[in-house]
Symmetry: C2
Subunit: 553 residues, 2 copies
């Protein structure tokens, strides 16, 4: 548990230190079970000042009993921790920096806490190690960020420490493996402890990798992050979805793909059984997916569009539906979903034809970022999937279709699609002269601007105006013209000479809806296979059970 | 277990089919244990014609009892299998194509069998799905290549099916997870079955993921692929290693890295405690490693150079040494190594500063390949690690050091170093006008040439002549000149005007040994920290136990 140090004849200092701490805490525990009311005291023994602690704050599930308990430890005993948190999502993740319990932070995503991270950084309460993508952060756990302690969450444990992480497995296996196999201490909070191993729903993580289990004061917090109410899908989303299906999915024969959580992609999912069916595309596109169990994918699944879905995490309310559709989803012998963010990100990077995402800002070169002033929101997983992986060697029709030369030394290319409205809901342009991220980097002394997706990795930009086929651009200047041609009345769009759009259309570099055989007047909500949460429930045969806040009945 | 099909009200066909087969085979089994002499009969029941079967042929360990038994099944019962084999290393991997048991092959690497794959392809006995890198192949198991059956190898099992994969965990977790959670059948051969779960060394794969265990007729085959006898390191390797340390490792402050299995990199490992020490570099470079437990790394470890090593797989003979150095290696609670190719490849891609590799052929643009006429040798893991991952967002000094602009919109770059002698041992030039891979692709109708590493991903080329700092090249033409400048008397080198080398050296684009303060006469084997296997054993305090064929005592 000590940091790197000069050579020494002792080669198992980490193991000895782990043993020492576990012995010190043994009077609090009953075997591997820590009593709920002793957790804070146990953390003060099992963690040491300066430790690297990986805390399971995920995109969705949160080891929040552990994080709340860590925040209650005595900063005189526990201080200067180096926290590694994939997703900084809860107030206590940052409270520990204010109190001095923690000092340094490595993370990937910080949606709701992004403003406060910026403030703490300015106030000198917090030092950033680095801002990562998810996969990159897991990778460093095996290299130079090996944790001394892992604090993770699971649904169930038995008294030996076997864990059931179930539908929301997410990041847990990666965090536990890196810690357990380098003599770190693994502590899991669970919603339930079963007495007999045979009562455990299934074993996702073997007891050999787990040191302590604690029954949480309440079930771990989990967020239905990927649920989009079809009621909020607007005609412009339908128009853009139609353009995507015709101008990208059909054109390049996209078989395998990832969708994020936007309303644009939700609209695509809901158009497959209607518009996609009319175009005769069933079985030809969108067969294999890497994404969470989106409720808006239910109509496409029920209509037979979907062969397989591998998930990063689960989605609240989708448990029974997923379990009843085991031909489509990855499930265990017990029937419940198996998710795994590390493998799903790997699949989203290397095994799929297309990534399609959205952004808050894109500049005229195609660089995009979700960082705005004062907010350090991080990267999440988008850059893993939203780039062209040069390490890929297998071909697929879509991948080959983007090659622009006859040379056998060319390589194919992943489709990386930016699907954005030219203006945000607040009236701010999406396509801008310069990313806020550049100024943020300059002001806060970052070595590089926090760019989510670089322009040279983007193959297509799709706006409500049209599609720019950037992979065909022969120069940076031409790429700029193509983006400007679909940038509407944003500053970048206004700089563009409309006369040149005709030439770009002629050359097949840009397509407007009419070039794709789409009439804007057809883009109506009536095309959506489900127009409300109730209709999604109905499609699912009553198996989907939306969280209360999504119910209007 | 059926392929994709039209919509149907039945959503658990895979699960039903799995149950059906397991029931059919139940009379052969005792619980989850298949008798050794019943394996072939069981495979004929548990596998169906046309199935996708993933077989653990790895870089090192081989599920060879399973593959030999599969080859003994009756082709009238079992035929047209679609085999997925990470590393095609054994004759029976291909025998099944000759006999008609298998038809289609997806793989990553095929060292010793590469010529025969080419012949079978020409004879029409074998159809290639695709040739992948390792990570890419695992990724597709979760997308469009989900297996119906997995055939894997482990050291031990208990009677429930819990597996100990131990020092040679390698690919097993990825293959099993993709199969077990999509209602595939997982069959593991083991060297030992223990009666009581408490006798199992440790649980690496939970019994919930495993359907059948069979005691193999003999321990699984394993190859000490990463053992390099220091006796075979030549002075030219020492020279190149000195250049690498001074001109690349020191210059860019390379902290974390991957080494492959060549004599060049073995020489670097053996120079760290001598030449590296003289340069005062200990603690400044080479602290974190992603590589197998190379015996030639022992002197550097013993001298305190190495903070951590995460491994793809194990290495025969290194078991006791690794177990005794748990501060450095990833080990389990039982003390033995934990390797994991999926995570180590991910770390090698995203978390390290540098990949350094070798190749059989490189062209004047820097493209390289190990494919030569008639051989389909595959990619292995080199392209995963030997490219600049555009999805990386965290900075390190080495990564930032390769930026050639002041723009905040630049990104850092991974060091991808090609370290090659200008001529191969057989007198053939390494640096060639055109890769054999191009002609192979043309002749066999491949859509693209099987390039191992593309020129635009290579940051440095190091030969016995000098180092070309390709990341500084401002044009393809300049990159060509730089490669030619270090290409010696190969055809590419002879095309180069020696006068321009001076200009390239002046501009810092190329460095000769003397530019790095290295005299060729200093490059002697006497600099090696160990000059023989016996000296490695001695460095290890007798813990390293080389396989018999490496022993001369």
């Amino acid at each position: 548990m000590l940091a790197a140090s000069p050579p020494s004849p002792v080669w198992n200092r980490r193991r000895n230190e782990k043993r020492r701490r576990i012995e010190l805490a043994s009077h609090l525990a009953s075997g591997r079970i820590l009593p709920t009311d002793q957790l804070t005291a146990a953390l003060e023994i099992l963690i040491a000042p300066g430790d690297r602690v990986v805390l399971e704050g995920n995109n969705q599930k949160q080891a929040d009993f552990l994080s709340r308990s860590l925040a209650r430890t005595n900063p005189a005993r526990l201080h200067d921790l180096h926290m590694i948190i994939p997703s900084v999502g809860r107030p206590e993740h940052l409270d520990i920096f204010e109190s001095g319990i923690a000092r340094k932070l490595d993370f990937s995503f910080s949606g709701p806490q992004s403003l406060r991270i910026g403030q703490l950084l300015q106030d000198g309460c917090l030092e950033i190690g680095a801002i990562h993508t998810y996969v990159e952060l897991y990778a460093r756990l095996f290299v130079d960020l090996t944790p001394n302690v892992a604090l993770v969450a699971a649904y169930q444990a038995d008294r030996h420490g076997n864990l059931y992480t179930g539908p929301s497995t997410e990041d847990t296996p990666a965090l536990v493996e890196a810690t357990a196999f380098r003599d770190g201490i693994v502590i899991a909070q669970v919603n339930e402890i079963v007495d007999d191993p045979s009562e455990l729903t299934r074993v996702d993580i073997p007891a050999d990798w787990v040191d302590f289990v604690v029954l949480a004061d309440r079930p771990f917090f989990i967020e239905p992050l990927f649920t989009r109410d079809p009621r909020l899908i607007k005609p412009v989303h339908v128009l853009m979805a139609m353009m995507a299906i015709r101008g990208i999915y059909e054109r390049h024969q996209v078989q395998s793909l990832n969708h994020g959580l936007g309303f644009n992609t939700a609209a695509i999912e809901l158009l497959l059984p209607t518009y996609g069916e009319q175009l005769g595309l069933k079985g030809k596109i969108c067969r294999h997916w890497t994404l969470n169990p989106h409720p808006t994918l239910i109509p496409a699944i029920e209509s037979g569009w979907v062969d397989s879905v591998h998930c990063f995490g689960g989605e609240l309310g989708m448990e029974a539906y997923v379990a009843a559709r085991s031909d489509v989803f990855f499930t265990g012998r017990d029937g419940s979903l198996r998710s795994n963010r590390a493998f799903c990100q790997m699949a989203g990077q290397y095994a799929v034809d297309m990534f399609i995402g959205s952004t808050l800002q894109m500049d005229g070169d195609g660089h995009s970022s979700t960082v705005t002033h004062g907010r350090l929101s991080g990267f999440g997983g988008a850059p893993n999937m939203g780039h062209d992986p040069h390490g890929r060697r297998h071909a697929s029709p879509a991948w080959l279709d983007l090659i622009q030369t006859d040379s056998l030394l060319a390589r194919g290319r992943k489709l990386v699609v930016q699907m954005v409205e030219t203006f945000q809901g607040n009236g701010q342009p999406t396509i801008v002269e310069s990313l806020d991220a550049v100024e943020v980097a300059r002001n806060s002394g970052m070595p590089l601007a926090p760019v989510m997706i670089y322009g040279d990795d983007v193959s297509h930009v799709l706006t409500e105006e049209g599609i720019a086929y950037l992979y065909k651009a022969e120069s940076l200047e031409q790429r700029r013209q193509m983006i400007a041609a679909v940038a509407g009345i944003t500053p970048i769009g206004l700089r563009h000479d409309p006369a040149s759009t005709a030439a770009l259309r002629q050359a097949g570099l840009v397509a407007l809806p009419e070039d794709l055989g789409i009439r804007r007047s057809e883009a109506s909500r009536s095309l959506l296979a489900a127009k409300s949460m109730a209709e999604l429930v109905s499609w699912s045969d009553g198996l989907y059970q939306p969280p209360a806040r999504f119910r209007s009945w």
